[in-house]
Symmetry: C2
Subunit: 272 residues, 2 copies
């Protein structure tokens, strides 16, 4: 059972995991370096625990103690009860979800390990917007993609905003970092996966023709909003696919495009 | 050719169309009542003009005059040149896109008129978030839906934020309001459309089975984020359809769900 500790000094060193949460640049350096990430709100905290993440500590305003009582009773980590004002002083914003937890990161699996058990994977290149990363994970989970591989310059799926937008899907879809880009795509291909690059380029083939449902051993490559995949990533792919566009529109947003592409390769009856 | 008028008094009555743009409650009442909407940024202003909307006036900071010169030369409406500071005083925010236009609304077509020429339409119920409305229009345009029908309590597609998120798609996909909800759905059915209600309900059939590509005369019904369609809307539908979900995820966000559903009914080879 956790110890419930009331804190009323914002400079208390025990609150260090929670300082300056609105300073994105600081936090994106600190969190991976210190092996932690922040889960925000009751639902996300519970999902992180269910996914096997260890809790370092929890920060609650007093009225959330009852709601989180079962968690408090189960975890060995300290639980800090603070006033909403103190929470705001420490974190830099009004914590309207009332509960924050500092969770311990796990060692990421290697890409090989993920590919061994997967049928359909997402490969993201340079997606460095936390909202977009979260949205792609949410759709990947919902639509049955088995794993996510990230280029070295993708944003952190465990950053607070990514976790929130994903509704916790970053905990349920396993992911790995590719260290050498785009060279490590070769290992994906050697793992038996066909590399499909999603691009609006007119030379690409329509995804509904290429992927007539329930493809097996497919790696779907996505680039960032606006830029799309780099030339070298496109060159490394086996095939270019596009979502057919109407009304002279040039693109979907990355979240919508990802959802459609995941549906195209996962849904439907198997081809006879 | 437009008259270029320099204004340096924020209380100048000629700027009335642009006052208090950040006051959502005020603007959502005022704009339909006064028959105007605001287009923001060069691209959106040009798309509104291409779609045949008349300009009432334009508000530019000085450095945008050159960029918009061709538009200024073509329109009969007055163009107000102001400092960035004055633009902020009038509108309530920093207008970083540098150009705003007040456009005249058109009379909306009737639902009958839209249905006559359409093959696939979107029906939205109670989607009252401007970002979501804009996202659904953008995907509807990109994925080839022909028209949108709105329940009486849907948000305004011409509200500034809807227009921006849609990337101007609210100008290219025609839409109408249904006055009586859900009674007017009967007219949609009488127009020869099959009413498919999108719902996560387990009693619904998988959309990839129901809609095996290029459906004709289909009306796809969507509800708001979180709530989904109301019971009475579900009862009024011909069939319930769901997007198959994996990993125990309960839903996609409304933008992703809409994109997948539009793809499911529009893409692919026609069924033999």
């Amino acid at each position: 059972m956790a110890e419930l500790i009331t804190i009323d000094d914002p400079a208390d060193p025990r609150l260090r995991d929670y300082t300056s949460l609105t300073d994105v640049e600081l936090r994106r350096r600190r969190e991976p370096a210190e092996g932690l990430f922040i889960a925000e709100g009751e639902k996300v905290i519970r999902r992180a625990r269910q996914a096997g993440y260890q809790m370092r500590s929890m920060l609650l305003s007093a009225k959330w103690v009852d709601t989180m009582r079962d968690v408090i009773d189960e975890v060995p980590a300290p639980v800090y009860a603070v006033s909403p004002e103190l929470a705001e002083q420490v974190t830099g914003y009004h914590v309207h979800r009332g509960a924050l937890a500092s969770m311990q990161r796990k060692t990421l699996p290697g890409a090989d390990e993920l590919l061994a058990g997967a049928r359909r994977v997402v490969v993201m290149e340079a997606v460095n917007d936390h909202t977009n990363i979260g949205a792609v994970f949410r759709s990947a989970a919902a639509l049955g993609m088995d794993a996510v591989l990230l280029s070295p310059d993708c944003a952190d799926p465990l950053y607070r905003r990514s976790v929130k937008v994903s509704m916790g899907a970053v905990f349920s879809v396993p992911y790995a970092r590719l260290e050498h880009w785009p060279r490590d795509l070769e290992a994906v291909r050697e793992g038996g996966f066909r590399l499909l690059a999603l691009t609006p380029d007119e030379k690409a083939e329509d995804i509904d023709v290429v992927a007539p449902h329930r493809m097996d051993r497919v790696a779907l490559m996505l680039g960032a909003e606006g830029e799309g995949l780099s030339t070298r990533a496109l060159v490394a792919a086996d095939q270019w696919v596009r979502i057919p566009m109407a009304h002279g529109v040039d693109s979907l947003n990355v979240g919508a495009a990802a959802a459609v592409a995941f549906y195209a390769v996962t849904a439907g009856r198997p081809v006879a």
